[in-house]
């Protein structure tokens, strides 16, 4: 069975499917949202190979969907969600180191 590869070595160019697949997701976002709902989506050569409400569920779904035979496939991972009319995320002043939190316990 083929294997799933979600990362690439640093000096390796992007797999041939990468940018086309990201663009395909965006171009078909409305249709994909209607079909799958909100969540994480894995796409390879303009076909959905995995979807799930969580990253892990989406990857596991893709692993169950791998084609037989040797080789590896290099899907892109993206998210589907209904966009807010504006984003504008800001951080307020609270900033606690996780190490400090552990010490307090």
């Amino acid at each position: 069975m083929a294997t799933l590869r979600l990362t690439q070595p640093e000096n390796e160019p992007a797999p041939p499917n990468t940018f086309g697949d990201f663009h395909w997701i965006r171009e078909n976002e409305a249709t994909l949202l209607e079909k799958y709902g909100e969540g994480f989506i894995l796409v390879y050569n303009k076909a959905v190979i995995g979807f799930g409400p969580t990253y892990q569920a989406a990857v596991e779904a893709a692993e169950r969907n791998l084609p037989p035979g040797p080789g590896e496939i290099t899907p892109v991972i993206d998210t589907l969600y209904h966009r807010h009319p504006f984003t504008r995320i800001v951080s307020t002043t609270l900033s606690i180191s996780l190490d400090d939190l552990r010490d307090e316990r």
Binding site: T7, E10, T18, F22, T87, I89, S91, T92
Partner: protein, 136 residues
Amino acid sequence: MTGIGLRVYRQPGHAEVYLRFTGRHGGQVRLTAVIDTGSHGTMLPEAFAQQLQIRNPRKVWLERAGVPGAGFEAIEAKVMIRVEDELGALTQPFEISVWFAGTLEIVTGFGGLLNRAVLHLDMPNLTGYLDFPDDI
């Protein structure tokens, strides 16, 4: 200057950029992020905190500005990224702060990325690019 091409869309109108993050176990994780000139930083779904090499994680409180009651907790951490486009343009690696939150949104704003670059956006022609200085 390194010019990185953006993908520009209509309906809804927005621009996106490709980001390459250093993975937790080495290698590069590629994501696409919406350019958000109103956001103070870069935000990713919290699941990616397990996939990326992060340092100095801290708990922070984020708000969607102007929306009452829309605050939420996130982990802020340092990550190494490179910005790229599909024609092969690629910046040097640089470190930014990223918020990992219980969201599906992947957005990038100031506070690490946009504050380093000149943004060009041509909506009628659906083109755009970010110009990064070579000494990023």
